[in-house]
Amino acid sequence: MLPAFMPPDPMMNFLARCLRPLACLAVIAGALAAPAEPARQILVRAALSDDAAQQRELITSLTGRADAALVALLEAWRTDALFRYAPAEGTALVVQLTGPKDDEGRQAAVRIDTGAALVDAAGQPLKLAAGDLKAVEHTTSLRRAMKAVADLADLADPDPARRFKAVQTIGQAQDAAKLAPLQARLEVETDAGVRRVLREAIALVQLKDPQDATRIAALGTLKELHTLASTDFIKRALKEAEEARNQPVLTAAREALRAVENHRSFVDFFGTLFRGVSLGSILLVAALGLAITFGLMRVINMAHGEMIAVGAYTTYLVQNVFGTGITLPFFGLSLGLPGLDLTGGAYQTYFLFALPCSFLAAALVGIGLERSVIRFLYRRPLESLLATWGVSLVLQQAFRLMFGANNVQVSSPVYLSGNWTVNDIIFGWNRVFVVGFAILIVFGMWLVLTKTPLGLLIRASMQNRTMASCMGVRTERVNMLTFGLGSGLAGLAGAFLSQIGNVGPSLGQGYIIDSFMVVVVGGVGSIGGTILSAFGIGGIDQVLQQYLPVVAPGLGWVPGIGGFLQNLAQDAAVFGKILVLAGIILFLQWRPAGLFVTRSRSLED
């Protein structure tokens, strides 16, 4: 594809992206069919023309075709910086002077028609002094025409995203004067997204039209487009129609408003759904490791959060090694790590390398933890809880001493830092990625647990450790590897979480309680339950955050604490979280062992 069409700004319409190849083809095809006169040459013709009316006509014909460069030329014309240059032989030219002046006040000149430097017959650059030349003249009416062209310059920008923005801005200003250029642009516009916003802008401008029929038609268009941006304008039109007791317009406005409101709740719903799914994925990724260490091994690893942090810090290190290197405080030793000084695409791949590194680093720390502490505490869950909490304190402090007490900066690779907007619903790439990532991890874990010899050994040992060891399974080794696997998964989660949150010594603390909640609600020992509960908790949390601010102001009636509730609802995130926790406690009334129960026959289990 043509590199010039690559969007520098990722904030662009998804549909537009998909349609762009088509659009390009159309433009190219059009260009081949009828080679239009380049805008620059029209400008030059206008500048050389002596007929004011013709000049105006030529300039106005640039409307919707002028790009930024052309606007700069118009500006130059307006400020007397375009000069007429009549060479000894040949036709007159229009030039612009650039570069430093020499001793005689002469500067290098650029031809406007071609944009190339002005040269003499011998091909040597020709230098001219401004004083020797005559500036191209301009009249008031011409200047007005130029300004109108310049104002609409962005409409012809080669980048559809910028065209999109320009149209939006014009539409929201509701300036009737811009109606014609908009309509003109709509004729030639090929990008579907821009076409859509053009229609919206035209309709918005037409809302100001004195004719009822035009306004009703505009409202019809807005109803059909039902964009969120048009809400306020439709409301205003509705109010005006109400005041004017204009029944037909009123009806049309109401219908348009209803369509927009419907669309809004649709967007809210799916936006919430998506955010819920992505939060669920985050919870799932964070909790999966725990589902293994806690769920399968029944080890309460309070240092699980620190395993996540190990993964996040590993990502940080890999990033810096790919970049310019880094100097760590490292227990006061100021350890310098050299960097590979990669840039561009090579640097962007750091994240792909960081993933396995994070897994390995956390798995190794986990195995170390298992060998040194946890293996003495199987069958003593409360003790393992306490000892691993001790470990978590030590690790947190170690992070502080190694990487500093402040959060460190992990930058997202480009392929994780944009977003798509489909139908007004925003899909952040990192959020989309976390969903895919969660699916991948779950699938990978399922493969490991069901299709590999290690998985078989893990399942056997976890069901009946004594029996497995009687059958010749080296349960010690299996325990070690299982714990390593669980910790490694936490590390992967850390690599991921480094992309969507801060990386600091207490990173793990933010996830540990949520992770435990997910596993407990899902039913300890049930991976399927963990998945279900992660999405359930994530979804409910987002729904509460979305709708609490709507519902809470209506809670004033609650006796005694009504005002208090209204007050708290301003912190929807916090209040929602508390409600989720309360909900979990109530949920456990109904299903004390979580969603999926694993049974035992012994009296005390």
């Binding site: 502490v373 409360l382 000892a387 912190d571 926790l581 456990l588």
Partner: protein, 382 residues
Amino acid sequence: MTGASQASPRRSRIELTVVAIIAVILIVVLPVLNAQGAISNFTLGLWGKYLCYALLAISVDLLWGYTGLLSLGQALFFTLGGYMHGMYLMRMIGELGQYKKPIPDFLVFLGWERLPAFWEPFSSFSFAVVMVFLVPGLLAYVFGYLAFRSRIKGVYFSILTQALTYAASIMFFRNNLLMGGNNGFTDFKFILGHSLAEPATMRGLYIATAIAVVLAFLFCRWLSRTKFGLVQQAIRDGENRVLFSGYATMHFKLFVFVVAALIAAVGGALYTPQVGIINPGEMQADKSLEAVVWVAVGGRGTLLGPILGAVSINALKSWATRAYPDLWLVILGGLFVLVVLFLPGGLVSIPARLKALWGKVRRSPEKPAAAASDTQPASAKT
């Protein structure tokens, strides 16, 4: 170690004598030395803080050591007690705050002109005292009822209490709760008309704390010797069996949970005026776990262990945070791992261990098991 009905009267007498001596030192000797200048106000203040923490430790031990319920929410009850008393102390500042307004500074800062309704009654000391018991007690009752009714136990109980504490702490961190937000309550001036700047007032608070610790100790000692204590410890060792003996274990656990919350709340209420600040930082899950460390280090399932642990670890903390500020968390964490792994009986089990070791050395190494099994504390099943 378990039901004291089997402890010999002689041991019991020795134990009481030791306790009486310690009680006299704490309640009488230290304050007198302070009044005469032999102990600085600062040191006495530190001891007051340690003893408040001892109350928190006792509440943890009552649950964990004696009933097998590892609650990670005791710091919440402690802090709630502290906040309830703190509200009274905030009212007593009167118009001496920075803004010279009749309402607490942070409310002025938040743009309040009048006192919110629920703050009004806290001008009364007796109301605040009632709330010190009522609020944590009620919360413990409701939460305990829900948790025990659905038979949540073991690590699940721990995790849920931690979640409860977490939920409460994020709530108290918000300004909208009108409880001082991040900074909590501080700059107290008066309690019951006495200036908190007066050493005599602080001494009085210290004595009250010491008395509370001794009373809590005696209460737990009495409780562990009743049939209730037997049931409690039976629940720790095999709850289902207790159900099949006809005991509604839920009621027993609920009772202990509420009592423990009240003990912690008293500790918090005494903590606030002595330390001079109460904020949500005190109710984070870490604080609860720290209290568990004190109990583990002191010796869980024993009466003296939690007090010993709370005082010694906090004394260590006071020293270490000044001497090695970077390493304190490492020391605390490491200590904890070591105690869990190598000294499950805690500090109070050291004499018995030494005795067993000494017996082993002195006698031929034929029958060490008998000596050990006799003297080792009941390693509580968890």
